[in-house]
Amino acid sequence: MTVSRRRLLQSLALTGGAGPAAEGAEPGIPLEVLRSVSAAHGTNLSDDRLRVVKPVLDSRAGQLRAFRNFEIDDTVSPTLGILEY
């Protein structure tokens, strides 16, 4: 399957791969977009499987918006373990 650069960027934006476009996205993610992202990620889920996971992704949209809108200071690094007190 060939995925155009425009479609890939649109897809990544809708599933969170790029910030600004995602903010204005509708909560329901079109199946064709999921198909493109799945192809780009190399998972290549079938349409049947995409129809199963679509409600999961749609239901998380609001929660993810709050997450993506949360601003973090540039000095903050990721932590994998624990912080010593």
Binding site: L12, T15, G16, G17, L34, V37, S38, H41, T43, L45, R49, V52, V53, P55, V56, L57, S59, R60, Q63, L64, A66, F67, R68, F70, I72, V76, S77, P78, T79, L80, G81, I82, L83, E84, Y85
Partner: protein, 472 residues
């Protein structure tokens, strides 16, 4: 001594009897095996029972104790781990058809340490497939709540909670990635500890999420959980995430004295989804602790509402990575809900995952600030157990939404790595009357303070002594 008395005694009660040979390990193991045979068909807490092996080990313990080789307070006591801890030569299913015939050639560090302490493996406990959330039927059907068999024991350490509460085993091991020890402890009316990240080795424990997984002890009393942690805690060269921090003597923390201890009580967010009956039980518990000399301090945990989504992204991303091969090769063997969750998680972006780890840093710094104002933080432990049929409805046809939000009061401790304990603190009016729990969190590696407050609370209450109305 009546068998029913033995089944519900604490380690503190049983250990002296074993040490002084007033009770034989063989007699004790037989009593628990009889109990398992009688009630497991109803409770479904055990996937595997290792009866013959357990009796052999009991005879060995009996000989050792008689010869003056008493190893310590767990010697001769039966235990059972959640069936995702590898046990050499004993089937370890992970609650999944995909691994239902796996017989490990190695021993997890936790079970190895228990075996070395003389504890006796009596079987492997039911769980939700790969410890992945709630709402599944599981490999052998769901475990049931001993307080009412139509209710869920909660998960994912469902068998661990149910087995201890039903008097089928005195000591259990669970794992906790987003509340999976504490939630069943609450729902079954027992004590469950999620230790500090790194406190207990995860070698030989099937991964759900490398940076959120914790292994921990479950038992009827706070003191028994302390004794269990004493044996299984500590560094392990086979687990690179295990911490080098020294393990203190937890028994010394069981003073019953909470005078001057500062208990932080959240002023917002955490009580939002708590039923009035649950909140009343929590308020009574902290009021009692105040009467015992503790000081109550109002606290605010900033950005607590992000814990759920941060946990979901980290857990989902890491679980999808761990199960990448299984999704490609054995997806049809997974429960529909588990497969759905893993496949949905493949849509998280790397940027989301890294951002979640950065918010984790923010939340850790926030907890550092919170613990400058209090010694322990009290949090709800969710409401009473849900109906079992309601919880697993839709397993064959995935529900919408398929990921009900977990109580964020659990995720905070996993995301920030701090230790957290759940103690029984009352029952619903019912019917049915179901257990309620209270949760306390502390600074990293300060499990001792959790045991201190737990011991004081259980010395002044009898919730942990109540038994479910379950006959063989």
């Amino acid at each position: 001594m009546a068998e029913s008395e033995i089944l519900f005694m604490s380690v503190a009660g049983l250990a002296p009897l074993l040490r002084t040979r007033k009770l034989s390990p063989v007699e004790l193991v037989r009593a628990f095996l009889d109990r398992i045979e009688a009630v497991n068909p109803k409770v479904n807490a055990f996937i595997t029972v290792t009866g013959e092996q357990a009796l052999e080990q009991a005879k060995k313990a009996e000989r050792e104790i008689a010869a003056g080789g008493y190893r310590g307070p767990l010697h001769g006591l039966p235990y059972a781990p959640k069936d995702l801890l590898a046990t050499k030569g004993v089937r370890t299913t992970n609650g999944s058809k995909a691994t239902s015939n796996w017989i490990p050639d190695h021993e997890s560090t936790v079970t190895e340490r228990l075996n070395q302490a003389g504890a006796i493996l009596i079987g492997k406990l039911n769980l939700l497939e790969f410890a992945m959330g709630s709402g599944q039927k599981g490999l052998v059907g769901p475990a049931r709540n001993p307080w009412d068999l139509t209710y869920s024991p909660s998960g994912s350490s469902s068998g661990s909670g149910a087995a201890v509460a039903a008097g089928m085993v005195p000591l259990a091991i669970g794992s906790d990635t987003g509340g999976s020890i504490r939630n069943p402890a609450k729902s079954c009316g027992i004590v469950g500890l999620k230790p500090t990240y790194g406190r207990i080795s995860r070698f030989g424990v099937t991964t759900l999420s490398w940076t959120l997984d914790h292994v921990g002890p479950m038992a009827k009393t706070n003191a028994d959980v302390a004794r269990l942690l004493q044996v299984i805690a500590g560094p392990d060269p086979r687990d690179r995430t295990s911490a080098a921090a020294p393990v203190p003597d937890y028994i010394k923390a069981l003073t019953g004295n909470v005078k001057g201890l500062r208990i932080g009580v959240p002023t917002e967010y955490f009580f939002d989804r708590v039923h009035a009956e649950t909140e009343a039980a929590l308020r009574r518990a902290i009021s009692l602790l105040k009467d015992l000399g503790a000081a109550l301090v109002d606290v605010k945990v900033r950005n607590a509402s992000l814990c759920g989504v941060v946990s979901s992204i980290i857990l989902g991303s890491e679980a999808a990575a761990f199960h990448e091969k299984g999704l490609k090769q054995n997806a049809d063997l997974l429960e529909p809900l588990v497969r759905e969750r893993l496949e949905a998680a493949t849509f998280h972006s790397a940027a989301d995952y890294i951002k979640a780890l950065r918010i984790r840093t923010v939340l850790m710094e926030e907890m550092r600030r919170v613990f400058q104002t209090c010694d322990v933080l009290m949090l709800p432990a969710g409401n009473a157990a849900p109906k079992l049929d309601g919880e697993i409805a839709g397993t064959d046809a995935p529900s919408d939404p398929p990921l009900p939000p977990r109580p964020d009061s659990y995720n905070l401790a996993n995301v920030t790595g701090i230790p957290a304990i759940v103690l029984p603190c009352g029952f619903t009016a019912g019917p049915p009357s179901l257990p309620l729990g209270i949760q306390f969190c502390a600074k990293p590696f300060d499990e001792a303070t959790l045991f201190r407050i737990g011991h004081a609370y259980q010395s002044a209450t009898d919730w942990h002594r109540r038994r479910p109305p379950l006959n063989g």
